[in-house]
């Protein structure tokens, strides 16, 4: 079983409570099982007796994990509780126990057809959330970046990987790689933190420099700061912060004259509404709603505050739950600062 590779995590987490305050799903369902401890306990049961892998309650719990990695980031030894869940999901898929709703979503994700358009040295990957729900993010980036090629046509493999369909994820990613190689670009930029993580860590492409849009925009040089700084609240991306420790989004916003206030009560909790699970709105819509509601609850003044979300998914999730929520992406914020 894949979870056997994470025996150290099971042993460390099964009786440990030290990160439960950061268990995003646990904080809205209040369930003991929706914490790294709870999940490690039930996977310990699976490890002891593989028949437990068929337990529908266990499977549901494993797919409800939001994979924010806040707990792993917080842990003094960074035990890989995310890796354990991904291993478990892979075991569930490989043993033929994936629930029907998960298989249906996975089937859709396998249908990809990547196309490259435009001209320029840089290739900009437009992920599914940006393309289908928030074209304004891509539009803002392209206005700021100038001449770029674009690639789109589906998920680059991250979502399938996160659902436990590792082989299918590799197949899809090979198609993506082929399209990237054919574009002859050496720099690949994306606004999607999950895709950034996939291309940087899960499926790196030889000879291709992968950048998050904030890194790329920062590399373009200084932006004329407005005379008066604007106070904004930032909602971090799990993939940029907890998975990649990327500080570029904040640096970019500061360079554009924004004054960054702390959203909520702390910088440790995930407010990304399930971004780590990539397509959480499709597999756990009720939980996405609950996670979004917690964000609204923690906002100082949800009617008036300007919130900058570092992930297109998060912006989508929050706006889906509360359409008038005043959230914009990094790209839109920079465009705004430039007076466009």
């Amino acid at each position: 079983m894949n979870i056997d590779k994470y025996l150290d995590v099971i042993k460390a987490c099964r009786f440990c409570f030290m990160c439960r305050h950061l268990a995003a799903v646990g904080n809205v369902t209040f369930k003991e099982s929706d914490t790294p401890r709870g999940r490690a306990l039930l996977l310990d049961k699976v490890r002891m007796d593989s028949k437990n892998m068929k337990n529908q309650d266990y499977i549901k719990t494993i797919y409800e994990a939001e994979l924010s990695a806040s707990c792993r980031y917080h842990c003094v030894n960074h035990y890989d509780e995310v890796g354990l869940i991904l291993g478990a999901r892979q075991d569930i898929v490989e043993s033929g126990n994936a629930p029907q709703n998960i298989r249906t979503v996975a089937d859709d994700l396998k249908k990809v057809e990547f196309t490259v358009e435009g001209t320029g040295d840089v290739l900009y990957y437009i992920d599914g959330y940006t393309k289908n729900h928030q074209p304004e993010i891509a539009s803002a980036f392209l206005q700021l970046a100038g001449n770029c090629k674009t690639i789109s046509g589906g998920d680059c493999g991250k979502a399938l990987n996160v659902l436990g369909f590792a082989e299918d994820a590799s197949i899809v990613n090979e198609k993506f790689k082929k399209a990237v190689k054919a574009s002859c670009s050496s720099t690949l930029v994306t606004s999607c933190p999950a895709s950034y993580d996939a291309l940087k860590n899960d499926f790196p492409i030889d000879g291709i420099n992968v950048m998050h849009s904030s890194e790329y925009l920062l590399s373009l040089g200084s932006i004329n700061k407005p005379s008066k700084s604007i106070n904004v609240y930032c909602i971090d991306s799990d993939y940029l912060k907890n998975y990649n420790n990327l500080t570029a989004p904040r640096e970019l916003l500061k360079s554009a004259g924004y004054k960054l206030d702390m959203f909520g009560t702390n910088l440790e909790e995930s407010y990304a509404a399930g971004e780590g699970a990539v397509i959480y709105d499709e597999i756990c819509p009720e939980l996405m709603k609950k996670l979004s509601d917690r964000v609204f609850e923690l906002a100082d003044n949800p009617e008036k505050d300007l919130i900058i979300t570092f992930s297109p998914y998060t912006k989508f999730a929050l706006k889906k739950s509360k359409p008038d929520f005043n959230a914009i992406s990094i790209e839109e914020a920079i465009l705004k600062a430039k007076g466009n």
Partner: protein, 481 residues
């Protein structure tokens, strides 16, 4: 298990619970039952580790208000089913384990900060709130609870109230019983009551103190008003290495009896200094490590720090400086993360005991010698934390690296160590315990500890909870029928 899900009565109760709290907040799934069958007590952990089936609750309910708590308790009385309040589940005494099945009343949904009163410096909160979330919320308002326990990230305020918990700054800011001003409590029969709004009065015995530490056996605390504090201008630490624990204890006791006001003193005996201080702080020296800290206006901090250092130096310790003191503060929680914390396959227990300065060293040696003489396979280490004007707490621990594989044998050995060590401590004037509570683990010691006075506690329990639905079998009270 009192109920069987094969029985239609089970469905009757489930319907009634659902009517009270809503479908989303009545759970019966295997995943959550497993999570609620194990807390931070070594015995259920071992039971799980050895592949044994633990006792799980029949239902897990998440009430959203005192009224819902009240309705649930009335239902439980009707059905004659136990109710076990559950906060973060991180108690070390088995106090929240559903040993007879029944309803786990998980309080985490009641997690709101209701108000902050900057004039009286109090916060009124629902007690299901995670204490780290509480501290963050209070800090955002510009204050602090000054409650910094190792379990800050795991436990709820209600959990701390249930067993009179404490944090590392207890020496200045007190334990939970000093921090709580007043409470809303739902009694076992479902009445919603409030204790008096101030903690000091002459209007009869104090009901706040009656419910504090009752571990869910006398009712369910739903709301509390607690003290909050300004963020201190300065907080400083200093560490010393004494030749032995006795000299360090003399220094610590003198600091307290001189009526200085440190926020923290912590003294590690020689074995724990060699084992844990070395591992966590990297100090590889023989002796007893002692750290103290002061906070408040900087001038006062510096003055008290100077006085305390002068007292410490009378014993001629090695001065480790402020750096090694600050390092302790910075890493104060690290001791409790894996792999720094003891973990299975080791058997381990915290023999938490509190005594006066006159007795505390005798208590230490009585327990240490008992463990050493009777259980040569066990290591005994200890530190002294939570110092008061009259004494301090001994956080003694025993560790067995390879306990028996058979779970029954392992638990028998484990219990025997507790039985002998704790009784030796009680004989020397030690009290079990200072902040972990009694729970399932130490219930059998309550008669030894209290003597004839225990009957008063039993009578109170009987009057308040005539059907014995509240957390039966804990704190030495009788179990479910």
């Amino acid at each position: 298990m009192l109920m069987s899900n094969q029985n239609y009565t089970y469905e009757m109760l489930r319907s009634e619970l659902t009517w009270v709290v809503g479908e989303d907040y009545v759970k019966t799934d295997d995943s959550d039952k497993l999570g609620h069958s194990i807390d931070y007590y070594w015995v259920p952990e071992l039971w799980h580790d050895r592949g044994q089936k633990g006792t799980v609750p029949d239902f897990i309910v998440h009430p959203g208000s005192a009224r819902e708590v009240s309705e649930i308790l009335k239902l439980a009385n009707n059905y004659g089913i136990p109710v076990i309040p559950w906060g973060g589940g991180s108690g070390s005494q088995g106090g929240a384990l559903p040993i007879y099945g029944g309803i786990i009343m998980d309080m985490k949904r009641m997690n709101k900060v209701l108000s902050i009163d900057p004039v009286s410096m109090t916060a009124t909160v629902e007690v299901g709130i995670n204490t780290q979330h509480l501290e963050w919320a209070v800090q955002k308002a510009g204050y602090s609870t000054m409650h910094f326990p190792a379990s800050i990230a795991c436990a709820t305020l209600g959990g701390f109230i249930a067993h009179r918990g404490t944090g590392v700054l207890s020496t200045k800011y007190g334990k939970m019983e000093d921090m709580i001003m007043s409470m809303e409590v739902v009694t076992p029969t479902g009445e919603i009551i409030n204790t008096l709004p101030v903690p000091r009065h002459a209007s009869g015995p104090d009901l706040t103190q009656l419910f504090l530490g009752s571990e869910g056996t006398l009712g369910v605390v739903t709301k509390a008003t607690m003290k909050i504090h300004p963020i201190p201008e300065s907080r400083k630490f200093h560490a010393f290495l004494f030749k032995n624990m006795h000299e360090a204890m003399a220094a610590g006791a003198k600091i307290m009896t001189s009526r200085l006001h440190p926020c923290v003193i912590r003294l590690y005996d020689e074995p724990e200094t060699a084992k844990l201080i070395k591992r966590v702080l990297g100090i590889d020296k023989q002796g007893a490590y002692l750290v103290f800290g002061f906070d408040g206006p900087e001038k006062m901090v510096d003055l008290e720090m100077e006085q305390a250092s002068t007292i410490a130096m009378e014993q001629k310790p090695e001065d480790l400086g402020s750096e090694m003191g600050e390092a302790w503060w910075e890493h104060r929680y690290k001791f409790f993360y894996p792999p720094y914390m003891f973990q299975l396959p080791q058997a381990f227990g915290t023999l938490d005991t509190v005594a006066t300065f006159s007795n505390i060293e005798n208590v230490y040696w009585a327990m240490k010698n008992t463990v050493k003489e009777n259980f040569p396979q066990a290591t005994f280490i200890g530190h002294f934390s939570h110092w008061y004007e009259w004494g301090c707490m001994l956080y003694a621990r025993f560790i067995i690296d390879n306990p028996p594989q058979d779970p029954h044998e392992a638990i028998a050995l484990y219990n025997k160590i507790w039985d002998m060590a704790i009784r030796a401590a009680i004989k020397e004037g030690g009290v079990i315990n200072e902040h972990h509570g009694v729970g399932l683990k130490l219930g059998r010691m309550m008669k030894d500890l209290y003597g004839p006075a225990f009957k008063i506690l039993q009578d109170i329990k009987q009057v308040l909870d005539p059907n014995n639905i509240m957390n039966p079998g804990k704190m030495g009270f009788k179990g479910a029928r």
